[in-house]
Symmetry: none
Subunit: 119 residues, 2 copies
DNA sequence: TAGCCGTTTCACATGTGCTTCACGCGGGGA
DNA sequence: TCCCCGCGTGAAGCACATGTGAAACGGCTA
């Protein structure tokens, strides 16, 4: 069945998502997310390491077909990145694949420069 | 079994809840709560660190299904916060998760400002 | 009966979320 | 080079959720 996610715990780095409890922990501390933000994060995390199209995310989180030109997913990805960045600055979780969609994956947030250094 | 709470003692910071004795201690001093206030606090404390929906709280404390638009839980959360704040100003116990419900957890009542200081 | 206490309900204040828009930037193709 | 398209980002406007004080109500007791 589709909804057998009771004890489901999605982990990525120091991020822990518990769909059944509507709870997200960063470093063990609860994150304050809106219902939509939470839904989007859950669906992204469930599809970790895979690229998910905006239309697919919209369909499952908003429960409707995405209209052309609708930027809601983009906006909410931005909100999520904000909060995740604040809670866990050392990691990046949501990666853009231009023309395809987003991919969830915990990766160190190193900033590389042309000279090869990290600052 | 569900009701084996005889010697149950719920502790959170300097707050101690003893359901079997209908007693709540703050800094060792008994708190004066009404029956409903006490019931709500017990159920919140039993579910510490988890988000509990208003409907769930109403069901277990009032023993009935919550009607849409009923604000009782909100009002009693407010009453509880009042009394807890008076007794233990340094701690915050009941946290709101907009759209989801309340979460019980003893957390220092620090006020953070944009400049990063605590006043 | 008057008064107290706890509960419920209500109205208003405040806070937060959702959608949409506008602008900017950067890469790729004409 | 210029233009177009996709995406990042901040903000405005409205809707909704929650906080809060007080009135209304009912049972109990002095």
């Amino acid at each position: 069945m589709e909804a057998a996610h009771d004890g489901e715990v999605l982990q990525a780095g120091r991020l822990e998502v518990r769909p059944a409890e509507s709870l997200v922990l960063a470093n063990g501390r609860p994150l304050n997310l809106s219902v939509t933000e939470f839904g989007l994060l859950v669906e992204l995390a469930r599809r970790a390491e895979r690229i998910v199209a905006r239309e697919a995310l919209y369909a499952v989180v908003w429960g409707a077909e995405m209209r052309v030109g609708d930027r809601s997913v983009d906006v909410y990805v931005h909100k999520l990145r904000d909060k995740l960045e604040t809670a866990l600055p050392e990691w990046r979780f949501i990666h853009t694949h231009v023309g395809f969609g987003y991919r969830f994956s915990a990766e160190p947030s190193q900033r590389f420069y042309t000279d090869g250094t990290t600052r």
